[in-house]
């Protein structure tokens, strides 16, 4: 009891990080910030088929570059100049309504392919998941022996 009074005379006052601090960190790392670059320096981020992290990071950087085009679509929806839709349909509607140019629409279509690639979970056909059938089980037994 005496030790507690000496060490924490005014009570335990070291709080854990507040919610707003968590939000602030996430904002810093989900935008193009120098801090994100600095902390992740040295991480292998090349966009290669064998490096899925490099791929997801590359798509993220593309999304930041395309943000102004997406903003045009969002603004048009807010101003009720455009109907709200999902995915590729939304891009098509925006293109038809001349909210975005054909080049911009193509950029978004290309990006959408990449985005789906990143978001989709690995999928396997059922025959890929089953064990390979052994033609002659006895041969395995004899090999092991």
């Amino acid at each position: 009891m005496k030790m507690r009074f000496i060490i924490f005379p005014l009570g335990a006052r070291f709080d854990m990080p507040r919610d707003y601090q968590d939000t602030r960190l996430v904002k810093l790392f989900t935008t193009a910030s120098r801090t994100r670059e600095r902390l992740l320096q040295g991480t292998f981020d090349q966009n290669l088929p064998s490096n899925p992290v490099g791929h997801v990071n590359n798509v993220f950087i593309q999304s930041l570059e395309l943000a102004p085009i997406y903003k045009k679509i969002r603004d048009a929806i807010k101003a009720e100049k455009l109907e709200k839709a999902l995915g590729r349909t939304q891009i098509e509607i925006a293109q038809q309504a001349n909210v975005i140019t054909d080049t911009e629409a193509q950029q978004l279509f290309d990006f959408d392919v990449e985005l789906m690639e990143v978001i989709h979970v690995d999928h396997f056909e059922s025959n890929e998941l089953s064990r390979t059938q052994v033609a002659n089980p006895e041969s395995i037994t004899s090999q092991a022996a």
Binding site: P17, L28, D45, E117
Partner: protein
């Protein structure tokens, strides 16, 4: 001797692996959570996702700072056995937490083992770092505090040496000097802890960036409290302390959080105190001082009668 030999590997290999895994997962998870939408919003905007995501970022910053600056001491020829034990335990544990958080955020994408899954391999390799080169349970319970307490104490080692010598007038007189020095040291720590506790460490001297002054004051205060509780434990429990592993582990936690917090401040200052980076430093300092507080409260609640 064994620990000295191990310290180079423990200081570099395992902390670096854990840190690189954490960076890899932060890169993937921050990008994925900004891209993946649910109900028309990126999942990074959901507060439920922000909590583990921020923890991943904050812990990775602490790991990077500690790994970099402890490795630097090796390049100066030091054999930092206690810091290497701190890094071995805490960085591998933080790496495990980062991997768990990343798994939680990715959900099924982290479970299906295939070419797009960049989490599962990292997750399954962390236990290797945790169990090798001095398993984490042993490192925390026996090594972090246990091996440093006697050697780094200003009086205990001298007292032990004198107690083993032949009793004569000069050794008794020398022992008295050391012993009363020790008592004075303990009393001054008690008074210092109380005064710093009441004033929030306001009157201690700090240096460097003004923004960091509060954090340095907190560390001064908590260091004083650590010195007090460590000293009291050694005085009251004496040789029984080595069998009180739960207490020793928590005393080690106090030392570790102080060390990691110092590394965070050093790293920030070495980087030139970039304004944009301060939110991570603030998060890391709040996290580490809060963890220190939890460990201290557990010591006080469970102190042997």
């Amino acid at each position: 001797m064994l620990v000295n030999c191990l310290s180079v590997g423990r200081c570099i290999t395992l902390p670096s692996i854990s840190n690189s895994l954490a960076k890899h997962l932060v890169m993937g998870t921050t990008a994925y959570s900004a891209l993946r939408q649910q109900f028309g919003l990126p999942i990074a905007k959901f507060e439920g996702v922000q909590k583990p995501l921020a923890r991943m970022i904050g812990l990775t910053y602490i790991m990077s700072a500690a790994r970099l600056h402890t490795a630097q001491s090796l390049s100066y020829g030091e054999k930092p056995s206690v810091p290497s034990a701190i890094l071995k335990y805490h960085l591998t544990e933080m790496g495990r937490q980062v991997a768990i958080d990343s798994m939680d955020i990715h959900g099924g994408k982290a479970v299906m083992l295939g070419p797009k899954n960049y989490i599962a391999d990292a997750y399954s390799s962390i236990p290797v770092a945790i169990t090798v080169e001095g398993a984490n349970i042993m490192t925390r319970n026996l090594m972090i505090f246990g091996q440093g307490a006697t050697r780094s104490h200003p009086y205990v080692l001298k007292e032990m040496e004198l107690a083993g010598q032949e009793i004569n007038e000069s050794t008794v007189s020398e022992f008295d000097d050391v012993f009363f020095g020790h008592v004075g040291f303990s009393m001054s720590n008690a008074v210092r802890s109380l005064v710093l506790g009441v004033t929030g460490g306001r009157f201690t001297s700090t240096q460097g960036n003004a923004k960091l002054a509060k954090h340095y004051r907190d560390l001064n205060r908590l260091s004083s409290a650590f010195a007090l509780i460590a000293d009291v434990s050694m005085l009251t429990l004496q040789s029984k302390l080595k069998f009180k592993e739960m207490l020793s582990a928590r005393l080690g936690d106090l030392l570790s959080y102080l060390y990691l917090a110092s590394m965070v401040l050093k790293h920030y200052e070495s980087e030139g105190c970039p304004e944009e980076e301060y939110p991570i430093v603030e998060w890391a300092m709040n996290y580490l001082t809060h963890q220190y507080q939890i460990a201290m409260q557990e010591i006080l609640q469970n102190y042997p009668p």
